[in-house]
């Protein structure tokens, strides 16, 4: 068989019945092989089309871009209130505080998406997890899911931290929904067909439906497997009434646990005890400062946006996708200019019926501001802001003992490991520097007698090498270790649009500016949800709990005596140093910022 066939032997062999059968088998196998290759080529061509690069504007990227945070097939999301009512409720958009797009003309079918989805819920053809292109539409989250707010009668304002969304509660409810053993493609597509009849008629539509059903089932099986795999680290998700209990999910509306996510995603360690609760911040006017985050710990806006996406669950493979990588760069650019171009609305514009302070009051308030606030926060300067230290490197930090606000965001287990570990998570083209940093951390841990941590760093070196093979040209969003650092306090940062930064302090423990500056007492316990905005006190309406707790409008009980929720500190102006009348003037003045 292996030797060269002579002409005669080949001819004789082919003339026999066995030879003819071999020829038939040979040609048949060849044809099937070619067809399989053609089908593969057709699929790859499709992938190029489904994942075609689209250069978005910064605003488009921020609001509608894909960030590798795809959640679920579009058709499932469109019928989720129906097929997953037990887990999500019949009105999950409102229940979890997401914003409606206010496009009443939009129907409930695929063709109307994303107008029939909440703000920040986007549509792409990317598979959740790897973000690889598929012929099925999926819904994902953009920056706007968390960084948009509807205040007063205004529509959604992009770039403002959400004041209502309970992202962690939603995530647990969503995991419950997809773990529903009864849920499958047949249930989902059946519900969709009843909601949008007539879409699956014709051969092409039916063929597309088979593909869709296949990938919906694959998605369900994948997300279930991943949830089960994570359960020892993430615990079982809460459900039903448990979701609203601060004992179970202590963040509530408008807050997240970013460092719990970083600890889990980056270090692959449990973060359950992490109490670094943070409000979702204003993601505008970021160009006014060199270092971002409440603690001034991230030096590059693109790195900041990338870490935000990574901690929200995007995979390394997704972050390396050209479209997603570009979206991150564009969204970061949007945060630098948002507030200037395009501008943000002022308090007076949003609440035109609010009593207008007199010029005299504003001048008086300005003087108090200069005395009590300007040293740390600077002041407006034309279209910009005057605070020289904001562009400093390192930034100006008020140490924790001095500012005395909640320490949970600064002091937590593994805080010292994160900067180096984060940087080494995304391999550069040449990993020498990253490897050396990890080796140094291992040696340091050994010197300190922390052998377990030394072992962790040694494993991190192996993991870095493996990721370096995965991204041999370097990960697109790799960054130098110096771009992320640990601080011992909170950054003295500009505060333009202070009215859009409510609730106040990094953990959102003070609902209004009025309470922040000492005109009213800071409430120990209050209710958060969607109770509205108070333009007089400048902040969110957070009623006190009644005898039966919080009501449905603001269902989350925020208890500032709980770890991570402290409303202490930042006593500026210092109590007793400024007359009440002057504090009123200060409140009026900061409402103009």
């Amino acid at each position: 068989m292996t030797g060269k066939l002579s002409h005669s032997s080949a001819s004789n062999a082919n003339a026999s019945p066995t030879g003819i059968a071999r020829r038939i088998v040979g040609y048949f196998a060849g044809v099937v092989g070619v067809l399989l290759l053609a089908a593969s080529a057709f699929w790859w061509r499709g992938e190029a089309e489904w994942g075609r690069f689209e250069p978005l504007t910064p605003e488009q990227a921020f609001a509608e871009g894909s960030f590798g945070l795809e959640l679920a097939p579009l058709k499932y999301i469109l019928v989720a209130s129906n097929v997953s009512a037990t887990a999500l409720g019949t009105s999950w958009i409102r229940r979890f505080g997401f914003l409606s797009r206010k496009t009443p003309a939009a129907g409930a079918c695929e063709a109307d998406a994303p107008q029939n989805l909440p703000v920040g819920f986007t549509v792409s053809n990317r598979l959740p997890g790897s973000a690889t292109p598929l012929p099925v539409k999926f819904v994902g989250l953009s920056c706007a899911a968390c960084h948009a707010a509807s205040i007063g009668e205004s529509g959604p304002i992009l770039g403002v931290g959400t004041q209502t969304a309970d992202v962690i509660g939603f995530t647990d409810a969503f995991l419950n929904a997809v773990l529903d053993p009864a849920l499958n493609s047949k249930i989902i597509l059946g519900a969709y067909d009843r909601q949008c009849p007539g879409e699956a008629s014709g051969f092409r539509a039916q063929a597309a439906r088979w593909v869709e059903a296949f990938f919906i089932d694959r998605w369900l099986s994948g997300v279930r497997a991943q949830t089960r795999e994570n359960v020892t680290k993430y615990d079982l998700p809460y459900h039903g009434a448990e979701l609203g209990s601060p004992d179970n999910i202590p963040t509530g509306p408008s807050r997240t646990r970013p460092f719990r996510s970083v600890v889990r995603n980056t270090l692959d360690l449990p973060g359950a005890k992490n109490i670094a609760y943070s409000k979702v911040p204003l993601a505008a006017m970021q160009g006014l400062k060199r270092w971002s985050q409440f603690d001034g710990s991230i030096g590059d806006p693109v790195v900041r946006s990338m870490i935000a996406v990574f901690t929200s669950g995007a995979s390394l493979a997704a972050l390396n996708e050209p479209q997603i990588s570009d979206n991150i760069v564009k969204a970061a650019a949007y945060t630098l200019r948002r507030g200037i171009d395009p501008p943000l609305p002022s308090l007076a514009e949003t609440f035109p019926n609010r009593p207008k302070p007199s010029a005299e009051t504003l001048e008086k308030g300005h003087l108090v501001y200069v005395r009590a606030c300007d040293g740390c926060h600077g002041h407006p300067n034309g279209a910009g802001w005057s605070l020289p230290s904001a562009s400093g490197d390192p930034p100006s930090i008020t140490p924790l003992p001095e500012i005395s606000t909640d320490p949970g965001r600064i002091i937590f287990r593994y805080a010292d490991m994160l900067p180096i570990a984060l940087s080494a998570t995304l391999p550069a083209a040449d990993v020498t520097v990253q490897r050396e940093a990890l080796v140094a951390q291992s040696a340091k841990a050994i010197r300190q007698g922390d052998l377990a941590q030394a072992d962790w760093w040694n494993e991190a070196i192996i993991a870095l090498e493996a990721r370096s093979r995965e991204f041999p040209a370097g990960h697109r969003r790799a960054f130098p270790a110096g771009d992320v650092t640990q601080r011992d306090g909170y950054q003295n940062a500009p505060i333009p649009f202070i009215w859009l930064r409510a609730p106040y302090l990094h953990n959102g423990s003070v609902p209004t500016v009025r309470q922040l500056i000492g005109l009213d007492e800071r409430p120990t316990r209050f209710c958060r949800g969607d109770a509205g905005y108070d333009p007089i006190a400048i902040g969110v309406i957070a009623p006190p709990p009644g005898a039966n707790g919080c009501d449905s409008k603001a269902p989350f009980l925020f208890d500032t005596t709980q770890p991570g929720n402290s409303n202490a500190g930042h006593l500026h102006p210092p109590p007793g140093t400024v007359a009440r009348e002057e504090l009123e003037a200060l409140l009026a003045y900061v409402g103009t910022l």
Binding site: T2, L5, R22, Y27, A29, V34, S130, E470, A473
Partner: protein, 195 residues
């Protein structure tokens, strides 16, 4: 060999079928991977090695000019290798050949050389089958065989761990056995024993 190609389609047909099945399999199965591009880069290399292994072994076992089975598997192995090359260069390295060289150093040049040699060898095997026994052709074929085999062994058995390394080890073992069979067969021939 022209006769063999025209009248004996079974080897290439079956090899094409295996190639097509392999390509469909890695295309679809990789969708479950955490990193689809990386999975495809890895799995195309593995597919190339698996498909070319029969040809690599036949080249050792066969005392005569390599026949249609050798050419069939040598060809589909190359096609899988070119897919691997495409995925590696255009997806993993973002189309930047300079980055390939920077990352791999001299190994990159050997990879380029293997790709070029193997492509040339397969082209000649199909286009000029009548010159299979010329000295130049024998030299090219032998050098290409050695380069491809060394490349497989180094990439799998030496530089990797786990399943891929085990496959590399299996290839090395199979090669040793093939050499032994060849040498023993040659010895018997020299001793005048029947084949």
């Amino acid at each position: 060999m022209t006769t063999a190609r025209r009248s004996y389609p079974l080897p290439f047909g079956l090899a094409l079928l295996l190639l097509g099945a392999g390509v469909v399999a890695f295309t679809l199965l990789s969708l479950s991977a955490d990193d689809v591009s990386y999975a495809r880069t890895e799995w195309t290399a593995l597919l190339s090695m698996l498909l070319a292994t029969p040809a690599v072994l036949l080249y050792v076992l066969d005392r005569g000019t390599p026949g249609p089975w050798w050419r069939a598997f040598w060809t589909v192995g190359l096609i899988a290798y070119l897919l691997h090359f495409w995925w590696a260069v255009f997806r993993s390295f973002n189309g930047d050949l300079g980055a390939v060289v920077e990352r791999q150093g001299w190994v990159a040049y050997t990879n380029f050389a293997v790709t070029g040699l193997w492509t040339l060898d397969v082209l000649i095997a199909w286009v000029l089958p009548g010159r299979a026994d010329t000295l130049a052709r024998i030299v090219l074929r032998s050098v290409t065989w050695a380069a491809v085999t060394a490349s497989f062994l180094a990439a799998a058995a030496l530089f990797r761990t786990g399943t891929i390394a085990q496959i590399g080890d299996a290839l090395a073992l199979a090669l040793v056995i093939a050499f032994l069979v060849r040498v023993l067969g040659l010895a018997r021939l020299l001793a005048g024993e029947p084949k």
